[in-house]
Symmetry: D2
Subunit: 278 residues, 4 copies
């Protein structure tokens, strides 16, 4: 499927400071960015800190006063298999080297605290069946409720509070998977059909030889996720990190499907794509 992404952000910087922006669609293997354009106004010097392995695109800029950021992109997302049932756990020695770190506890995912819980609740299951059971457990034990959590909320807090938003659901899923020795990581993504449209936090688990996207909130279809960043948890995938003080003025996102251009493909680019609507 092809998607048109549109992001409009405005911030007021109280003083000149560096800002790290992680807002652009990743050039990752599971999607093709056919065209995109990031603008910052007033114009600033942007340093690019792209990651050639993950395809993530970070920029750093320095600004003061009001700053308007726009991002527009046309991205093709490859079909994804969202099925989990029956998928085998990857044995530890078969994990790719870079998956190992996603077995470990992180700032918001203290998986070391949940080993007994996971063993008691899901100990009889393996692989994809275990992840599916964890997703069911979250769906039946958690309320999706804004206002309960904040930037310091960990998966342990969420497990106790029994409520949170996409970020919290994602942290809880990641934590329980890691506690069960299944590599799990956080992904920020533009999410089609999410209401209101927003950057969404979802998880990715390593099963059956590859990473698989899962949405513990169930709010967005897997095939409509356009990946921006991938990391240990929310600390890694924040779309904006301000090394100083700034205030949000406004922020809007829109994600719509578009018709693929005739002959549109990974190799031809997509300059002729027209909007069709969500």
């Amino acid at each position: 499927m092809w998607f048109q992404i549109r992001a409009r952000l405005a911030y007021a910087f109280a003083e000149r400071c560096e800002t790290l922006l992680l807002l652009e669609a990743a050039r990752s293997p599971d999607q093709a960015v056919h065209s995109d354009r990031l603008t910052i106004s007033p114009e600033v010097e942007m340093s690019h800190l792209d990651d050639s392995v993950s395809g993530e695109r970070r920029i750093v800029f320095s600004a003061h006063g009001r700053v308007d950021i726009t991002y527009d992109a046309q991205v093709e997302v490859m079909p994804r298999d969202a099925g989990l049932k029956g998928v085998a756990t990857a044995p530890i020695p078969d994990l790719p080297a870079d998956a190992l770190r996603f077995l470990r506890a992180s700032r918001y995912c203290p998986s070391d605290r949940f080993e007994r819980f996971v063993h008691r609740e899901f100990g009889s299951l393996e692989g994809g069946d275990k992840v599916a059971a964890i997703l069911d457990w979250i769906a039946s034990h958690m309320d999706y409720t804004p206002g309960v959590s904040d930037a310091a909320t960990t998966a342990l807090d969420t497990f106790v509070d029994r409520a949170g938003v996409c970020r919290d659901f994602t942290h809880l899923l990641i934590t329980l998977c890691r506690a069960a020795d299944i590599p799990a990581r956080a992904v920020s993504a533009y999410a089609w059909k999410l209401k209101p449209p927003d950057l969404h936090a979802v998880a990715e688990v390593y099963l059956g030889g590859r990473w698989r996207l899962v949405d513990p909130t169930g709010l967005a279809p897997i095939d409509g996720l356009i990946r921006v960043a991938t990391g240990l948890d929310a600390a890694d995938i924040a779309f904006m990190t301000i090394f100083g003080q700034a205030e949000l003025i406004s922020q809007t996102f829109a994600i719509r499907t578009i018709r693929a251009p005739k002959g549109g493909s990974l190799t031809t680019g997509s300059h002729g794509a027209r909007d069709i609507g969500a």
Copy 2:
């Protein structure tokens, strides 16, 4: 300087399980491993998960019952500049891409909680002077006391408890540096002159265009640290991660200086090296 490392570990595995071992000297640019040998008895199949970027060497093996692990190595450590005073902070846009993640909070280093403290206490200083002041603060406000902390202790706990061991001191230093927007990471290292000899946890900060080792406990000379692993915090650099149950039987380490062989260098290897003593 040249060092001879000797490690002898014995564990009893209650059941067959996978174990990740991160015990070998890293093939990193700041040291040369002239010869080394890892043995596991009884013999097991070892899967190697080496990291070509960091030079870290991980193995995974599966074992049951008593397991004896031995490691012997001869490593040459390049001279290091341990000075911090006057060294400049690296601007965010000048950071290497892989240094960015060491600005973020991690499992044991919740640096997001310490921004006000760091600003109040060290806000007037910059770069190496700031790190030096943080080291002084730790030295004068913390007791090196075993038994206060455990595997779940975070830098926040240590900040309150005012005591801990090398791991805790390292987490606290890393946390305060990151809160001051200075990249900081954890390093496990064989430490010459540490009493008793042990794998030591120290920190590394990014200043003046490169990573610099610092020991917040002050217990080991910087030039006598032989790097094993580098990571976000203790969650990343554990020398043994057991995916099951095992009991420690015994564990001894020895690190001694040795005379460099005639013509000994990075290019010739070191098979003729003889022990000289610590």
Copy 3:
């Protein structure tokens, strides 16, 4: 000094539920309530749960919809000695039986975590000098900043965050005193000269044979505190506990000095008192 207290509260109760109100000036030995009047509109049945020992006056009522609460009182506060320097610690065996529980950790005052800190920082001092040094430490290490803390914030959080409001300063003082084996408790009080006028949280420490009020924020004079409730920490002295859901509509307080009526005294009452102004 004589004070005129005026409180006006309005709440909207989403459903009928019980509410515990702890808003009236206490009939405690250090102050005389010459006249006062609590009204709830629309009229409700009030159950009185007064505490004859502390002089605290709690009422329970059940309400639904909008509720307006008014409280007016004329209270004479006895002169207090706010000096701490040189005052002796009370030996444990000399403590009144009911002071013992104020040596223990409570919900927001985990004093068991601060023994080493208190010993390191204030170990050479005793009694009132120690409390004075703790007050100085708080004044020089904390920012009075609304918005940093919330209802779940403990003294441990505040110690790390280095900022908070009166409740947080009070919890921190209580925690450090208990960690030093000095009984300390929380007091809610109408506070003269506080800006804006409000119910204030302060602490009380047991030294030299009696309880002594202290204000770790330094925002209100000790002689202008009209006591409402006394307890382990904020969990005990909340002026309103709603066993259900309600929303604050508005809340205003005014505390002014008034001239004592001719012949006004503890025994004559004060029905003729006239307002003079703050």
Copy 4:
């Protein structure tokens, strides 16, 4: 039933310090202490800090070096009704004034964090049925496992860890009851049939117009509990609080049933009681 209690404690005090001992059977309405004797050797001066309301008996003594404490008592426990099913919740206005504080969060029982959990899991139940359901939930979700918890462990930790000992089970039950607006408190008691014999931590809930003992571990019969202390949580009922450093040398307890003396009753005392065996 009549019980013979025997406690033998030995401690080594590194330096002279005050110690608070809360080891004697309470003279509470639900039991009669027919005879008892506390000895401390070498002889020390004991200050008694008995609580006339609760019947608790605290002593304070100062000691140095090795101290042997013995306690022997004959106590008659009145029959108790352990049934919970169908027992009504006490409305807030009908609570005795001193029950209110057992609705609030305390050091080890952060009940404010569990309101949503309790509402989701047990919201459809009332009174004794709700407490019974909470007990069932604890029994089916927790392991009784020494070594998981320590002196700093809260009910929140235990809820996550899914394991603990009697103190932890008691904290969790109290926390969940308070979150459901049911007063709950902690009780230390000599426990008949507990293996090994020990001071046991149990809970007491206020339902149907009175306090009712419950043992969330199910390890000891309710009729065989001899009450020592009652409080908010473990912070209140510790049998020994040392204001300094001491080391445990040994500690043994024995609790046996004995035959009531002929004519034995609350008024005659029990000096002729003979041991019959457990």
